[in-house]
């Protein structure tokens, strides 16, 4: 399943400063569908190169990180239980403050 993953608001610094990652991954053994829960753990293992605590807390993202699946807050699609489809775009963005 081909996904586009984007990191912003400083989170790209955790993945070698690369903002856009085109990845190809499959559901876990025994599962039929790929969920956000599985994607998060895959991202932590495969893309996050430093300070993983700035990306995750427990099995979800840390407070202050917005997760968007096809430009919609994952809160609207079931958070960790959101199922992904081919060509979905998932954005992880840390909220900024100041200016």
């Amino acid at each position: 399943m081909k996904l586009t993953l984007e990191f912003g608001g400083g989170l790209e610094l955790l993945c070698d400063s690369v903002k856009i990652h085109n990845v190809d991954l499959e559901p876990e053994n025994g599962e039929k569908q790929l969920t956000m829960k599985h994607l998060l753990s895959w991202v932590r293992t495969n893309l996050i190169k430093e300070r993983p605590e700035m990306f995750m807390k427990g099995d979800s993202v840390r407070p202050g990180v917005l997760v968007l699946v096809n430009d919609c807050d994952w809160e609207l699609s079931g958070q960790l239980d959101t199922t992904l489809e081919d060509k979905d775009v998932v954005v992880f963005i840390s909220t900024l403050h100041g200016g």
Binding site: K19, P63, G64, L66, I93, S94, T95, L96, G98, G99
Partner: protein, 269 residues
């Protein structure tokens, strides 16, 4: 004439004629704007363009809150200040710039930081104040990125609906500590002024329940749908004690060491 009953003097009709000509804004939108009050928190990178545009287009009363003085390393992005004001109060400098553009606007100067301890005192100086109905135009610009959304608008989410748990303070960079390209807060500050004008004039659809994400380097701009008001929200939900908690959001932002930047609060809508 078209301004009958709206109290627009002839010089105002001339000054704002290009806005009065707009069918979807017109005399009613301008009259609403002239009666409105906006409080801008911070006369820095975001506040600079926001204040200039709010004053220019005819907001009736503008409060400016900031405790800083102008420094040379502000000037690359804080375009409301000039070299002549280096070392002087940002509020004084910004107020002078707003008055020079539009002497009809009432400018209220608050030369202090916006903190839990004085937030209510500052906001109470504005008549017809209803804390629990206070729309907040929240913007941020850091490095080469910017973000913008509207909180507390017409049944939309508040800051704490979106972020029920405070982010770790280490996650909150500020542009005074890190880099920012001058014109990035310019873009976001202008968009903040626009949202404040839309709310104050009661024209258009404010960016509530949506968030704008701006990436300057790649020239990308996306507007995403964010969650709505949460019934469980500690600050604004069904069980929240509004009287006591109406400023929790403000406390919250102060707590995380990340004061909201330009935050025009629309009063007496």
């Amino acid at each position: 004439g078209p301004a009958t009953g709206h109290g627009l003097a002839p010089d105002m009709i001339y000054r704002y004629s290009r806005q009065l000509l707009l069918p979807s804004f017109g005399v009613q939108g301008q009259a609403n704007l002239l009666k409105s009050s906006v409080l801008v928190i911070g006369a820095g990178g975001l506040g600079s363009p926001a204040l200039l545009y709010l004053a220019a287009c005819g907001v009736g009363r503008i409060g400016i809150v900031d405790h800083d003085v102008v420094e040379l390393n502000n000037l690359h992005r804080q375009i409301i200040h000039t070299e002549a004001y280096i070392g002087k109060s940002k509020v004084e400098s910004a107020a002078a710039a707003c008055r020079a553009i539009n002497s009809n606007v009432e400018i209220v100067e608050h030369r202090e930081a916006f903190r839990t301890t004085n937030a209510l005192d500052i906001v109470r100086k504005y008549p017809s104040f209803h804390a629990y109905k206070l729309p907040l135009v929240s913007g941020a610009a850091l490095g080469l990125e910017g973000q913008l959304t509207v909180y507390n608008y017409n049944g939309g989410p508040c800051y704490r609906c979106l972020f029920p748990t405070p982010p770790p303070t280490t996650a909150c960079q500020r542009c005074s500590d890190s880099g920012v390209l001058g014109v990035v807060p310019g873009v976001i500050g202008c968009l903040q002024a626009l949202e404040a004008v839309k709310i104050a004039s009661a024209v258009g659809d404010p960016l509530s329940g949506r968030m704008l994400l701006f990436d300057a380097l790649s020239a990308r701009m996306r507007i995403v749908k964010i969650r709505g008001k949460s019934a469980q929200c500690e600050a604004c939900g069904d069980k929240a004690a509004l009287n006591e908690r109406q400023f929790q959001e403000i406390e919250y932002e102060i707590f995380t060491q990340t004061p909201f930047s330009t935050a025009p609060l629309k009063l007496n809508l």
